[in-house]
Each structure stands twice: as C-alpha cells, then as structure tokens.
Amino acid sequence: MNGDMKEEYRRHIIRKFLFIVVCMAAIVLVVGLSCNIGQDLSLAETYSLIYNHIIGVTYLERSPIWWQDYFIWNSVMPRLAVAVIAGASLALGGTVMQSMMANPLAEPYTTGIASGACFGAVAAIVAGVSFSTIAGQYGIVTNAFLFSLIPAFMIIAISRYVDATPATLVLVGTAISYFFNAMVTMLMVTTDADTLQAAYLWQVGSLVGVTWSDVPLMLTVTAVCSVFVLYTARNLNLMILGDNSAKSLGLNAGQYRIMCMLMLSVMVASIISFTGIIGFVGLVSPHVVRMIIGSDNRFVAPASMVAGALMLLVADLLARSVSVTSEIPVGVVMAFIGSPIFLMLILFQKKGYGEVY
C-alpha cells in the first residue's frame, strides 16, 4: 500500500520533470529553426555553426561561412536570447503574482509596472522629457525603466498604511495603472498622428532591434530573481491558502509578498524597458502549465519559465517566417496563435482546474 503510493508519487514527479525537459528540448529545436530562417543551411549545419562559435572556432574574415556565422551570432542570437529571458521572466512574474494574490487575473503587470514604463517611454517619445541626458533609444529605455518602478514603490509605500490584503493591493495597483494609462492617453491624444504611431508601436512590444548589449542586465536581474523565487517556491504554495492559513503555518505572508513584489518589479521593469509591453505570456503561460502539471509551485515556477521562453520563441519564429522584412509584433502573433490553443486546453482539460483559487 505504502509502496504503491510512493510509486505513484514518483511517477507524478517524473511527469513534471519530463514536461520541463521536453520544453527545454523544444527550446533548443526552435533556436535552431530560428537561426535557419533566411539562410540556405541545413538544420545540422546550423547547429554545428552555433557549436563551433561557442567552442571558439574562427573563420576567414568575409568568407561565406564567416558571414553566416556573423549573421547568426549578431542578428539572430541576441533576439533569441532576449526572447528566452523575457519569456522566462514574464512567465515567472505571472506565476508569482497569481499565487501571491490568489487571483487568476493577476499578471506581472498587475501592479502597474507596464503603465509606468509606458508613461516613461511615451513621455520620452512625445514630449522629449527624459531623466537621462542620453539621447534617442537609450533615453527611452532609461525613462521606461525609472518610471516603471514608480508604481511598484507607490504600492509598497501604500501597503504600510492599508490593510494589505491581496484584494486591496491588487486594487491599488489597478488604480495606479489606470492613472498612468490616463496620462499616456492624454499625451497620445494631444500629439500629432505620426508621433502617436511611434508611441503606439513602442507599447505593443517587440523583439526588433535588441542587441547583445541589452542582454547582461536582463540576464543578471532575471537570474537573481528566479533563484529567489525557486528557492522560496514552497512559500508560494502557502500563499494560495490565504494569508491567515499562511501565517498559521509559519510564514510572514505580508513581508514575503512585499519582497516578491519588489523583486518582480525590478525584473519585469528591466525586461519591458527594452522590449516594450509584451502581453499574454505572463498571464497565460502559468495557467497552461498548471493545467498540465498541477498547481504545486515548486514545479510550476520552473516549468512556466521554460514554457514562457518557448512560447515567445515560437511566436518570434512564426512572426519571422511569415515575413522577414516587415516585422509583425511578437505579442500579436503569440496572442493570435496562443489564445485558441489556450481555449482548447480549457475545454478539454479533465479535472476541475480552477478550484485552487
């Protein structure tokens, strides 16, 4: 009897690990396919090119193979790296937010990070207002980053004065994001049509134009935050039970929530200030993962990270294979392909998912 249960538990765990491994394998595959677009190389040749670059093989300058290597490594790879990092960190943000707030509607942007970033970027584009003296692209990035932290710190400051239940925090976040969105709208409706287009395109979010120099910051912040979250994922399981139960089980729920929010804000801010507001992945990827492997956050957190990375990579691959020249925003492709699949998952899942909240 006891052995049976142990065996069954082991099978459950193995299935969860298997999901993560399959996602990782799929990521490697999609990276290969993405590098392949627009080149007449076989898939194996692409992988060997990538492998050779990693082990440090150099080619004769300006030879055809040098160009191929150059194209893959300087034009495609940074984009893929950003897709992986952004997908993973947004999905992680969604997982943490949903568990922490015990609300299936929560996403990484629920605290108003996105609207703050938007305001910063649009202010830079429309009004030329910037915190930094650096002109152009980096002015927008710095502005977006700094402004996106304002809502987060406002919430953390306010949470000292209110009864910091999840419902109250979520509402404060929503009110703040409405405020900043309104400011954005005010800037946008008073500006001329061309500037509005530029500002709107920033808002939609895309992976176009990212370079290697953007990667280190994102990677460091995401790595630090994910280590923190994965290490404390047990606490997230307690948070779903509600603050009172979590407290009686020995977790300082309020403090842990603030810690998580602080971490997530910096992480998400560092992503979206480079890419713009990429939606969908943060909200949907954790739900998809929960439907497949259950709601234990020790597995949901890493699994939704790989699943999020995979989603963003696949969407990017599709966007680029539809048209290499005119860039379709990756968020649009992801939502367009992803939502029907999501709806199917909802319709065909067996057990009553959704009782956890």
């Binding site: 609300n103 299936p104 509607l105 929560a106 629920t110 306010i158 004065y161 209110v162 009864d163 239940t165 419902a167 109250t168 979520v170 509402l171 404060v172 929503t174 009110a175 703040i176 409405y178 405020f179 969105n181 309104a182 400011m183 709208t185 005010m186 946008m188 409706v189 008073t190 049509a193 061309d194 509005l196 287009q197 709107y200 395109l201 939609v204 969908f280 909200l283 949907v284 739900h287 379709i328 925003p329 968020g331 649009v332 492709v333 992801m334 939502a335 367009f336 992803g338 939502s339 029907p340 999501f342 709806l343 909802i346 319709l347 009553g352 998912y353 959704g354 009782e355 956890v356 909240y357």
Partner: protein, 355 residues
C-alpha cells in the same frame, strides 16, 4: 432575550436606512451635478436657468432665447443624459461581475466586450468593413462594435454550457477570447496609417461627445431593463457569493444565474460601448467605492452603484469640459482624478470591504 431582539432589529433598521440614505444622497447630488454639467461650457448659461430651460422645453413653453434653448437641448442635454446612463450601466455591470465571478478585479469588460467592440470599430474605421453591407462611417462603427462585442460573450456561454461554471474557468475563457480579438485589433492598428490609427485610438479611449438624441432611447431602454433585472437577481447573487457549492445546496441554479447575469451585463455594456467607445475605470472602481461606504450586499450595492456611477461620470464629464476646450476624453479624466481619490479612500477605510 426579547429586549436583545428588539435592539438587534433597531440596529438592523438603522443600518438599512443608512444605506438607503446613501443612495438618496447620491441621487440628489446627481441631480445637482446634472444641472452643473448643463451650465458648463463655452457659452455661459446659469445654473438655475439651465433647469428652467429644460423644464420649459419639456412643458412645451416657448423659450425666449432660442440660442440658449438650442445649446442646452440639442448639445448639452444629450451628452449629460448619456453620461448618466452609461455611468450607471457600467457601474452595475461591474458590481454584478465582481459578485458573480467573486473577483475584485472583474469589471464589465472582463468577458472581452471591450476587445470585441474595439475590433468591430477598427474594422469599420481602418478597413471600411461592416457586418451590414452598404453602411459606412459612423453608423457602421456603431453596428460593428455592437455585434462584435457580443461575440466573446457568446463564446463564453458555449464554454459554460460544456464545462463547469467555476469563476476561474469563465475568467480564463474570457481572457483567451479577449486576446484573440485584441491581437487582430493590434495587428490592424500597427499596419494602419497614422490618421486612422489616431481615429481608432480616440475611439478606444471613449468619449461622450458623440451623444445625440437619436441614440439615447436605445441606451436608456437597455440600461433601465438591466438595472431592474439585475436588481431582481440580487438576492441570488448574494447567495452565489458564498461559493458555487453552498449556493447550489441553498437552492440556487448557479449555472443559470451566472449565464443570466453575464448576458444581461453584456447586453447593457455593449449597448453603451457601441455609442461611447470603451470608457474604462467607472465599471471597476465605482462598485468598489460603493462597497467601502455601504458594504457588499447586492440588494443595496446594485442600485447604489447605478446612482453613484451616474454621479461619477457626470462629475468627470463636467471636469473634462472645464479642463479644456481641446476635448480631453472623459475616460482620461476619470482615471486621473478618480485613481488617486480611490487610493486615498482605500487608505482611509477602517476595515477591508473584501474579506
């Protein structure tokens, strides 16, 4: 025992009368603000005089100043009526959605109505496509956005038919449909030329400026029927808030109740949205404000939200008119003024209203 019971009854009665008093006060305030918003504008007309003109016009008494009569009756009154109607319609929608889905983040647009309506409007404005052929311009946008806004709701109804009606399920299917629609809209907007983009952007922000007498009767009928029927459901909605299982064991048909309330909210919201665009904030925040003052009993929450929503949008529209002749959209003013106010009230409230 008997004395205790008497005291309990008195206490209950005083609580109820406080709630009713709140609703009545809001109603009176709405009436006052209604006059205020009529008198505000580029052409100066007195506060009392505005009421006088409306009254005279209603009674058929010829007005001495034709100019003032024209301004009040043909321009300011439709806008004010539309503000009151859409404010109350969106606010009850939010109150009912929050109760039915048991989620403080729910609002009338949670089912994807706004994304559907936006797609309809975008199709009409950017591509010139309309579901009714041979229509173009303004009417096409209205009809398109009404029809498309009901599509996501239909999908959710299908999901409910075949699956369990847990709130999470419904929210998630709403999200899925919403993303499909907004993906298409975003695509259209990204590819659009700057002028159309600017027009559709303006539509999405929402405005009361386009209200005319022609479209008010329809909205009024939808909103009035919505308030009455949702109020009739309020007792069952209260039971539903205890959870699906408890509600079922207390004799409420949860599936039917959820479907009915969603359909009613959807129809009311769509009727408003197709004429005004997606005015945000009201539907989410007004019910929460009312909850802070009078608690979460739907029997009082729904009518009080209707009154407060009307007041809220009337005040914001007056502010919008004062703030600039450039025509700042009312949705923007709502969020800029209402957001900080809401946070202030959240901080000041004694105990949380969402336990």
């Amino acid at each position: 025992m008997d004395e205790g019971f008497q005291r309990f009854r008195r206490e209950y009665a005083s609580r109820v009368s406080r709630k009713i008093l709140f609703a009545v006060l809001i109603l009176v305030a709405s009436f006052l603000v209604f006059g205020l918003t009529l008198s505000v504008g580029e052409y100066n007309i007195g506060f009392i005089e505005s009421y006088q003109i409306v009254f005279d016009h209603l009674m058929g008494i010829p007005v001495s100043d034709r100019m003032k009569d024209l301004i009040i009756w043909d321009y300011r009154l439709p806008r004010a009526v539309m503000a009151a109607l859409s404010g109350s319609g969106l606010a009850i929608g939010g109150a009912v959605m929050q109760s039915a889905l048991r989620n403080p983040l729910a609002e009338p647009y949670t089912m994807g109505i706004s994304s559907g309506a936006s797609l309809g409007a975008a199709l009409s404005i950017i591509c010139g496509v309309c579901v009714v052929p041979a229509l173009s311009g303004e009417p096409a946008t209205v009809i398109n956005s009404f029809v498309f806004s009901l599509v996501p709701v239909a999908v959710i109804m299908l999901v409910i038919r075949f699956k369990k009606t847990t709130p999470t399920m419904m929210i998630l299917s709403g999200i899925a449909v919403m993303y499909v629609f907004s993906a298409v809209t975003t695509m259209l907007m990204v590819l659009a030329d700057p002028t159309s983009l600017s027009e559709i952007y303006q539509w999405r922000v929402g405005t009361l400026g386009k209200a005319t007498w022609g479209n008010i009767p329809l909205v009024a009928v939808f909103v009035a029927l919505g308030i009455v029927s949702l109020w009739a459901l309020s007792r069952n909605l209260n039971v539903l808030m205890t959870g699906n299982r408890s509600a079922t064991s207390l004799g409420v048909d949860t599936r039917r109740l959820m479907m009915m309330s969603l359909v009613i909210v959807a129809l009311v919201t769509s009727a408003i949205v197709c004429f005004t665009g997606t005015i945000g904030f009201v539907g989410l925040i007004v019910p929460h404000l009312v909850r802070i003052f009078i608690g979460s009993n739907n029997k009082y929450l729904i009518p009080a939200s209707a009154c407060f929503g009307a007041l809220f949008l009337l005040v914001m529209d007056s502010v919008a008119k004062v703030a600039g002749s450039t025509g700042l959209p009312v949705g923007v003013i709502c969020a800029v003024v209402g957001g900080p106010t809401f946070i202030y009230i959240l901080i000041k409230q004694k105990k949380s209203a969402w336990r």
